[in-house]
Symmetry: C2
Subunit: 284 residues, 2 copies
């Protein structure tokens, strides 16, 4: 049996009891680690599972799928995916290949940013199409997301912006030299995403959004250090959200219940919180 197990969002205890059972009974355990990542290192997982975890990067999943699936017809193998197994599309190949080999597959679901973003107080059924924002480079500044935000906003819908993560990317120079050297991992911040969004609006000028548009920045959802800040795009530009992972929501039309819920996360409230925390720290 191939178990494809969602790990949820933050740490080793976000796995489901069903998922943990699958891992414990598996002969080999792989961790997909290039579309997202947990907020704890793999060693924490190994300690919690009492098992070795093999990190499977993109190359391994694509090139060595048969190694991963070896013997899975008779014995159990777990393939762990951060979030829900269907949040990313990249493991679909592995699943289809398993099925074509006659290996039974069992998917164990979990939370992903696609539903946990509801924690910001904007109602999930009022979200339109999600978008991804990738790091701009000097020569590559893809802005196809702009039309989709425009379409969502015209319908009054919220837009979840998934922000780029780069894990184990070969550097361009190393590719040119024919020997791969990997760049350090990079994670797009909410701040960078807003900069890029505003640059695209300035170029396109169709009014999909503006510096005054209500947005919600969400960082490390589901963890003890989760941070949610609501305010205009301009106000959110200079907030420090802390370590990865970050996502951004561009609000559409909001309902009074959404407004009431968002109030606790407003930039002003967040600043008050920070002041209170500083005061509390000062008292210690």
């Amino acid at each position: 049996m191939l178990f494809i197990v969602g790990l949820g969002l933050a740490d080793e205890r976000d796995i489901t009891v069903k998922g943990l059972d699958a891992v414990k009974q598996s002969e080999r355990v792989y961790l997909e680690a290039y579309t997202s990542l947990l907020l704890v290192p793999k060693e924490k997982l190994e300690e919690f599972y009492g098992k070795e975890v093999v990190v499977a990067d993109r190359e391994m999943v694509e090139m060595e799928a048969d190694t991963i699936l070896e013997g899975a017809k008779e014995r159990d193998v777990s393939f762990l995916v951060v979030g829900d197994p269907f949040g990313a599309t990249t493991h679909t190949d592995l699943e289809l290949r398993a099925r074509s080999l006659g290996i039974p597959v069992r998917v164990i679901h979990n939370a992903s940013i696609m539903n946990a973003v509801g924690a910001c107080g904007l109602q999930l059924y009022r979200f339109g199409e999600s978008i991804s924002i990738v790091f701009f480079t000097a020569t590559w500044r893809p802005d196809s997301f702009y039309d989709r935000i425009l379409a969502n906003r015209r319908e009054g819908l919220h837009t979840l912006c998934l922000l780029d993560i780069k894990v184990k990317e070969p550097s361009l120079e190393s590719l040119a030299r024919g020997r791969k050297v990997y760049e350090p991992p990079r994670f797009m911040t909410i701040n960078t995403a807003i900069e890029q969004l505003l640059e695209v609006e300035a170029a396109r000028q169709q009014g999909a959004y503006s510096p005054d548009t209500l947005c919600v920045g969400v960082a490390r959802i589901g963890s003890d250090t989760q941070r949610i800040v609501a305010g205009s795009m301009q106000q959110l530009l200079d907030v420090d959200y802390g370590p990865p992972l970050h996502s951004l929501v561009i609000a559409g039309n909001t309902h009074p219940i959404e407004d009431e819920y968002l109030r606790q996360f407003s930039v002003a409230a967040a600043a008050g919180e920070a002041t209170a925390a500083a005061a509390a720290a000062g008292q210690e």
Copy 2:
């Protein structure tokens, strides 16, 4: 502390390890049971938790919120929600009331139909706004979902249709007599949803969809008896999907990878599967 704990989709083992910890350390445990339900009875949860579980219906959460929150400043109380805590909006009041009373709140996420529907092979980031379809009555046939399906389909997006569930609804006659008698629980089937959709299309005639539109029926997602069937709306009309819960996806434009994945769920494949199962059963 008030823990708001997502239970996931199918059974008692879909809770996360973090959620289970919260339940075990709680003095009182409530189960929200009117927006969705698990596929196992509450007794299964009680046995697994080793704790009494109080079913909280809509009236209780709205009228007796203070009873639920009593003492939660000093001790732990868990409020369990099927799926993810933010899949439904109905518990938001409870959370806001807890915060206004100075009770710390901790949300523990899980899978919900909003992300687990990815199991059908249509990619989550290609879904537009979700809709809800309620049971038509002789006098009340609300069809506002039609415009939203139309908008999604024009953008080539998939539409998740959440199907009505009626748990503990007072019967109209009993309300007229001034003494509430509750109707037995009812759950909309994919078949009924399609009938209602086709009726609305026949009346509106704007071509949001037709009997030929590709759809995917999903039943009991995340359980051992999960059933996913892909085909035209007409083809799906007569399929037996088994017991609740059911949801329906109306496909937008599909990508070849989505088509490949869907193939394993096609009506023809499903019929073949049923035949194979019947043959296997016959051999026993």
